[in-house]
């Protein structure tokens, strides 16, 4: 979609693909990471009755910019016993994995990086690259803490893929498409057409679907939260036991890239949850553009709604992070294998039966 537009605009497919690949990075991911880092610090500070950064700009709004400037100036330390090629590739891979997800996320009805039919499948698959990057970082650092962190992270990510996939399959059974744009359009109308409220199903099926959809939403939210390695599932970078996990040995810009990837991932998983359950970019109450008769305003509103919903879930992630303590490794595995996966399976079965009505 956006690719065709840029092909027409520039006249060459190569420049069009470069522009459409870099557009979400500079227009969305980087500004989002800048704001989210500050937001995280402010939310954590206010939850703990502190003020957070207050020095740079009004209430510290330029703090992240100052941090980025500092990180750029920092020395890029590579220890002698590090595996240099792997050590250098790892942050790039981690970021590539989390950024590649944005290619298939529909930001508005007229902007989607690549409108592929296997969008959801692609997202689930490509985010697996992050695991390789994390393992690579942990192994190449040649340090027992990083390796432990990377191993934990890999175990965690692989375990929690399963409940995520089960819920995705549940959604698939109802919608019958993996294309995220189509999936979103299927929820159009007002907010009672969202997946969490049973989608386009009618009558008794819709009422029966709602509780199981809520269960599905809770399961996928917990498992995606674990996939982005955030508290209470941050055992892979548990700073009180493992220094800071797989990025202990990194400094300067490479560390910043890991950080950027983490925040990009946070939004990516929130975006998936939004697309699957909360109607993606759709407005719950209709568009201003329709009432004013300005068709160009609708995509802008849709982008705003999408960002709003995504950021709301990111905020809940932060809220959880500053509320809950870290889980032990056995508790982590127990939650996944003893609770989330059975619940997801039963949910899948019941939703399957309901769709037969």
């Amino acid at each position: 979609m956006i690719f065709d537009f840029f092909t027409k605009l520039t006249g060459s497919e190569i420049s069009a693909s470069i522009i459409s690949a870099l557009l979400p990075l500079f227009l969305f991911v980087l500004p989002f990471a800048l704001i989210a880092v500050l937001l995280e610090r402010k939310v954590s500070a206010h939850i703990q009755d502190r003020l957070g950064p207050m020095r740079v700009g009004y209430h510290g709004i330029l703090q992240t910019l100052a941090d980025i400037l500092k990180l750029i100036q920092k020395e890029d330390i590579i220890a002698d016993s590090n595996d240099k090629p792997l050590f250098n590739i790892a942050p790039v891979l981690v970021f590539a994995g989390s950024y590649a997800v944005f290619a298939a996320i529909p930001f508005t009805s007229s902007y989607i990086g690549s409108n592929i039919n296997l969008g959801l499948f692609y997202i689930i698959g490509i985010s697996g690259i992050v695991v390789i990057g994390i393992l690579m970082a942990g192994w190449a650092s040649n340090n027992k803490y990083t390796l432990l962190g990377a191993m934990r992270s890999a175990a965690q990510l692989i375990s929690y893929e399963i409940p995520t996939l089960m819920i995705v399959v549940t959604i698939l059974m109802i919608t019958g498409t993996l294309n995220l744009n189509e999936l979103t359009e299927m929820q159009s109308g007002f907010f009672w057409n969202w997946m969490i409220f049973g989608g386009q199903a009618t009558g008794i099926a819709k009422i029966l679907l709602i509780p199981f959809m809520i269960v599905g939403f809770v399961v996928i939210y917990i498992s995606t939260l674990a996939e982005v390695n955030r508290t209470p599932f941050d055992i892979s970078e548990a700073e009180s036991e493992l220094v800071s996990g797989y990025h202990t040995e990194y400094s300067g810009m490479k560390f910043a890239i890991f950080f950027l990837a983490e925040y990009a991932n946070m939004f990516a998983v929130s975006a998936i949850v939004v697309v699957l359950f909360f109607g993606g970019y759709l407005s719950p109450i209709g568009y201003l553009g329709n009432t004013l008769g300005l068709p160009w305003l609708i995509p802008v509103e849709q982008l705003l709604w999408f960002t709003f919903k995504g950021v709301a879930f990111v905020l809940v992630q932060m809220w959880l992070r500053w509320t809950l303590p870290r889980l032990r490794v056995d508790q982590l595995m127990a939650i996944c294998w003893k609770y989330l996966i059975p619940i997801a399976f039963v949910n899948l079965l019941i939703v399957g039966l309901i769709t037969l009505i």
Binding site: H46, D49, L320, W322, T323
Partner: protein
Amino acid sequence: MKEYFNNIYLAFSTIFIGMMVTFKHLFVPAVTIQYPNVKPQLPSRERNRLYVNMDDCIGCDQCARACPVNCIEIETVKSIPGEDLGQTTNGKRKALWVTKFDIDIAKCFYCELCVFPCPTDCIYMTDVYEFSEFERDNLIYDFVPLTEEERIEKKENHEKFMAEKAAQKEAELKAKESKNNSQDKK
């Protein structure tokens, strides 16, 4: 099976309670004091940096003697007749030039024992607590208002005066002796 569902219920209810607590704290005013801009209100009997009001100091050396860590060093020189040093605020006549009043604030441990013996209340604790220095020597505070030359001058004046006095005495003594001698000869 009952335990299984109970666990799920317990997990969600406790997470919900915890999140409510943190949500309430999100709107509690922060307890942070923006320190260099806003200074905290100190207790009225807070003990901090010492200050000496040299207008009132009579050089009695009682603070230096009270100090348990010997951080106060005082040297005094007697004034010569004709010099008027003025009075302290509580009416004591000053008779000594204080040529050295050094407080090594790096040694001081803020016990306030020097403050009580002072007869003119000229040494006291202030509320200044930000006085870090890069050089330790800068923490030796000199309170004497006189310049280096003046201090030397006061000392020389005193020595000259004493020498004159001694010379006078000797002359008197000699005069007496010579008188005695002459009387003896007679």
